[in-house]
C-alpha cells in the first residue's frame, strides 16, 4: 500500500488527517503494526532545538539618500559581509562584536531584531559616481528592512557525537564545559525527534519541503554544507522569513571560551506515504548511536572512547571505564518537543501544504576533510636538534656546567637507558645552589613531570602547551621517550616570514 501526497493533503483539508509527533510513532507502530500504522498516520512531525552555529541572515536595508554602496558594515558593532553590493548584507551567527567580544555577536543581532529591538547600522564606502555617500549610521527595527531572510548553510544535524575530556584540565569547547578526568559528558540533538533521523535516506526531506524554522514557516533549500548522510550525519540548508519568527525559537548564546552561537528550533513534517516512511519514523532514541569522543585530543580525528545511544545519553548517566559519568544535553529536549507539537498543530490546521521534494538530496554524500596543499609547520620543521642532556645520577655541578656550555636554560634528564625522566632548568640549579641542602644529584632537584612534544606535532598545538604550562621550552621525544630535540621559544622565530619552509 502507498498513500499519495495529494490524499494526505486532502485529509488535512477535510480535517481527517492523523498527525503525530515523532516520539509517538514507535509506540503506534509497535501497537498497530506497520501496515495499519501506514493507514492510520498521515504526517509525522519532527523537531530539534539546539546550537546551530552555521546560521545567519540576509538583510536588505533599502537605499539611503544620497545612496551608498556599503563596503564595510556593522550591526551593533558586529561586522556583516560587505561584498553583496549596495544595501544587501549577510550576517553570520558566530561573528563577534568588535566591542563586546563573545558576549554579543551575529546571533544576538538576529535575536534582537526578532525581539523588536533597535539595531544600529554603521557602514562605510569609498563613494562612486552612482553611490556618492561614504558613511551612514542609523537605528533600524526589523520592520524597516525590506527583507530579513534567515538562510542557514548547515542546520539540523542528523545526530552529533558526544564529548568527554580525559585530560587533567578543564576544556571550554563548542560542546560546552568539559570537566577534567572524564568528569562529565555533553551531547546535542533530539535523538528520535530529530528531523533527518526520521528520514535518513532523505526520501521525503529535500529541496522545497516546508519546515518550521525559528517559529516561522520556512523551507529546505537543499543539502546542507558538510552534510554526510552516508555516514549518518546529514545536514540541511534552510531558509525562512525572520519577520515571522519568534524569540521563543531563536536564541543567541555564548559557549564560554568558544564564542557566540545561535540556538534555533527546526522541525520538518514528514508525510507518511509508504512503509519505508513508517519504518524510518519509528526510530527510537536507543536506535541512534553516536561516538563518545575525547575532546582532550586536539586533532580532527579524536579517539572514540565508546559508542553510546541517545537513550543512554538522556538517562543522565553513562558508564565509561567502569565509572558512571553524568551527562549534559546542550540542546533542549523540551523545546524540541514544543517544535514538533507546534508543527503538528500547524499541519492539523491546514497551514502547511505538504509537498514532495522538488529535487532529491543524495543520501550517498560523504564529507571530505580539507585538502591541504601546504601543510602547516610541525615541530620537526623548527626544533633544535642539538640536544644536551644530563644523566639523573650526575651531580648538580655537572648539570650547571652543561647549562653554561650549551648556552641553554633547559636540560632534559635521562636515565641509564637513555629515556627522558625529568628536566632541570637554570632556576632549579640556582635554587639548589642558593639553598644548599641534602640534594647533590640531578635527580634530587629535577622536575619529574615533563611537558613534551613530538616531531610530527603541529606547531600550533606545541605552542598551546608552552602557553598553558607557562614554560619556554620542552623536549621533543620519540615514541620510546628518547629525547630527539628541544623546542624552545627561540625556535618559534623561524615561523616568521615562512623561514621554516626553506
Amino acid at each position: 500500500m502507498k498513500k499519495s501526497i495529494d490524499l494526505i493533503n486532502e485529509r488535512v483539508r477535510d480535517g481527517n488527517a492523523r498527525v503525530v509527533t515523532a516520539d509517538a510513532m514507535p509506540g503506534i507502530v509497535a501497537e498497530l503494526g506497520e501496515e495499519e500504522a501506514l493507514r492510520e498516520v498521515d504526517v509525522v512531525t519532527t523537531g530539534t532545538f539546539g546550537a546551530m552555529c552555521s546560521s545567519g541572515a540576509f538583510f536588505n536595508f533599502g537605499h539611503a539618500e544620497p545612496p551608498i554602496r556599503m563596503e564595510r558594515i556593522w550591526l551593533n558593532d558586529v561586522e556583516a559581509y560587505g561584498g553583496l553590493a549596495a544595501v544587501d548584507t549577510y550576517i553570520g551567527a558566530t561573528q563577534q562584536s568588535t566591542t563586546r567580544e563573545d558576549q554579543y555577536g551575529g546571533a544576538h543581532v538576529i535575536e534582537d531584531f526578532i525581539a523588536g529591538k533597535s539595531v544600529e547600522l554603521r557602514a562605510m564606502s569609498r563613494g562612486t559616481d552612482c553611490y556618492p555617500r561614504r558613511t551612514i549610521t542609523t537605528d533600524l527595527l526589523l520592520e524597516h528592512l525590506n527583507q530579513a531572510i534567515m538562510c542557514n548553510p548547515r542546520n539540523a544535524y542528523q545526530r552529533y557525537n558526544a564529548a568527554i575530556n580525559t585530560t587533567d584540565r578543564m576544556l571550554h569547547t563548542y560542546m560546552g564545559m568539559l570537566l577534567p578526568n572524564s568528569g562529565n559528558i555533553t551531547f546535542s540533538g533530539a535523538g528520535g525527534l530529530n528531523p533527518i533521523s526520521n528520514d535518513p535516506k532523505l526520501h521525503m526531506i529535500g529541496n522545497g519541503v516546508p519546515i518550521f524554522l525559528g517559529g516561522a514557516q520556512g523551507m529546505v533549500i537543499g543539502e546542507g554544507t558538510q552534510s554526510s548522510p552516508a555516514g549518518g550525519f546529514g545536514t540541511l540548508m534552510v531558509s525562512g522569513n525572520m519577520k515571522e519568527m519568534s524569540q521563543d525559537y531563536v536564541r543567541a548564546a555564548t559557549m564560554q571560551g568558544y564564542g557566540v552561537t545561535l540556538y534555533l528550533g527546526v522541525g520538518i513534517p514528514i508525510p507518511v506515504v509508504d512503509l519505508d516512511v513508517v519504518r524510518s519514523t519509528a526510530v527510537r532514541d536507543e536506535d541512534i548511536t553516536v561516538d563518545l569522543l575525547d575532546y582532550g585530543v586536539p586533532s580532527r580525528s579524536r579517539p572514540v572512547v565508546r559508542k553510546v545511544n541517545y537513550a543512554q545519553l538522556r538517562s543522565g548517566l553513562v558508564e565509561v571505564n567502569g565509572e558512571e559519568v553524568r551527562t549534559s544535553s546542550l540542546s533542549s529536549y523540551r523545546k524540541a518537543k514544543e517544535v514538533a507539537e507546534t508543527l503538528k498543530v500547524w499541519v492539523e490546521q491546514g497551514k502547511v501544504n505538504l509537498v514532495l521534494p522538488t529535487r532529491p538530496i543524495s543520501p550517498e554524500t560523504r564529507v571530505m576533510p580539507m585538502h591541504e596543499s601546504v601543510h602547516g609547520p610541525r615541530v620537526l620543521d623548527i626544533m633544535d636538534k642539538r640536544v644536551i642532556s644530563v644523566g639523573e645520577t650526575e651531580e648538580i655541578r655537572a648539570a650547571a656546567q652543561k647549562l653554561l656550555k650549551g648556552e641553554t636554560n633547559h636540560l632534559p634528564v635521562i636515565n641509564n637507558s637513555g629515556l627522558l625522566v625529568g628536566i632541570v632548568t637554570t632556576y632549579d640549579i640556582s635554587k639548589a645552589v642558593a639553598n644548599p641542602g641534602k640534594a647533590t644529584l640531578v635527580r634530587d632537584i629535577m622536575k619529574k613531570k615533563v611537558v613534551t612534544t613530538t616531531p610530527d606535532e603541529p606547531v600550533d598545538i606545541a605552542v598551546q602547551k608552552l602557553e598553558r604550562h607557562n614554560i619556554s621550552a620542552m623536549p621533543v621525544v620519540d615514541r620510546e621517550m628518547h629525547v630527539v630535540a628541544m623546542l624552545t621559544a627561540i625556535n618559534l622565530g623561524k615561523l616568521i616570514g615562512g623561514r621554516w619552509l626553506k
Binding site: 539546539g50 549534559s328 544535553s329
Partner: protein
C-alpha cells in the same frame, strides 16, 4: 542555613571556625573555603536555629558574616532547558524533571559559580546580597 564568612589576614591566623565550634558546640559544615596570605572566605552551613549565636561569635572574632538566603538563581525567561548545567555542578543541584524542565535543589548549592560559566544563555546568576 548558609553563611558567607570573610576574615582578614590578621584574624586568618587564628582558627576562627574551630573556635566557634568549640565555644558554641554548633557543628559547622564548611562547604567551600578559599584562604590565601591576605584574606579568607568560607561558606559554612549551620542549623537554622543556631544562626544568631554563630553569627555573633564569628563577629566577635573579627570576621564579617553574611547570611546567604539564596543559592544560584535561574532566570526562567532566559533558560531554554538545555541541561548544560546538569553535569558540571559538583553538588547535583540541577536536574531535568519528567517534562524536561530544569529544576533546582537550591539547598545543595554552595555558590561555586561553575554553572554560571557553563550556561550558554546567561540564565544563571548569583544574587548580590550585600
Amino acid at each position: 542555613m548558609k553563611l558567607l564568612v570573610n576574615f582578614s589576614k590578621k584574624a586568618g591566623q587564628k582558627p576562627i571556625i574551630a573556635q566557634v565550634v568549640k565555644d558554641t558546640g554548633v557543628l559547622i559544615n564548611v562547604e567551600r573555603a578559599i584562604i590565601d596570605s591576605s584574606e579568607g572566605e568560607a561558606l559554612i552551613d549551620i542549623p537554622d536555629d543556631t544562626c544568631r549565636i554563630v553569627k555573633e561569635k564569628l563577629a566577635d572574632l573579627g570576621a564579617t558574616v553574611r547570611v546567604l538566603e539564596h543559592g544560584i538563581i535561574l532566570d526562567e525567561t532566559e533558560c531554554v532547558d538545555c541541561g548544560a548545567c546538569v553535569s558540571v555542578c559538583p553538588h547535583e543541584v540541577f536536574y531535568l524533571d519528567e517534562h524536561w524542565v530544569i529544576r533546582l535543589r537550591e539547598g545543595r548549592c554552595v555558590l561555586c559559580g561553575r554553572c554560571i560559566d557553563a550556561c550558554p544563555h546567561h540564565a544563571l546568576y548569583q544574587k548580590d546580597e550585600a
